[in-house]
Homo-oligomer: 79 residues x 2
Amino acid sequence: MRNSYTPEEQIILNKIGKRIRFFRLESGLSQEKLAFACDLDRTYIGSVERGERNIAVINLCKISSALKIDSYQLLKTEE
Amino acid sequence: MRNSYTPEEQIILNKIGKRIRFFRLESGLSQEKLAFACDLDRTYIGSVERGERNIAVINLCKISSALKIDSYQLLKTEE
């Protein structure tokens, strides 16, 4: 897995990963159930939540749909 | 250039491309000037605006920083 992000980039990825995790837990979903709901791999969801992936918008939208939220909420800073 | 998106995915990419274009024009920037400001290629900016790229969050944040807006605004539907 490529992991050559600048500190600034890593902050962005960590923030998004935490937002996904926050909304996933709020929905009462496991990583496995979320992965199933958005047709992605559980290990992929895990790596996104850990800030290891520069996730692209299509997967971001798949995840937000499965979490029943608007995709932009995953990029917002405040809760 | 890979262009095998589903209709739903294409709608997402078109929407984001239009949002970027909207904010770019509002800032009075050419594609070239925006590209320079965010250290990306002008042809890349063009292809994102045309909905041809599944842009990842790091580039989305580079573009929003250069446009002096919050990245989540590029995913919002309303103006």
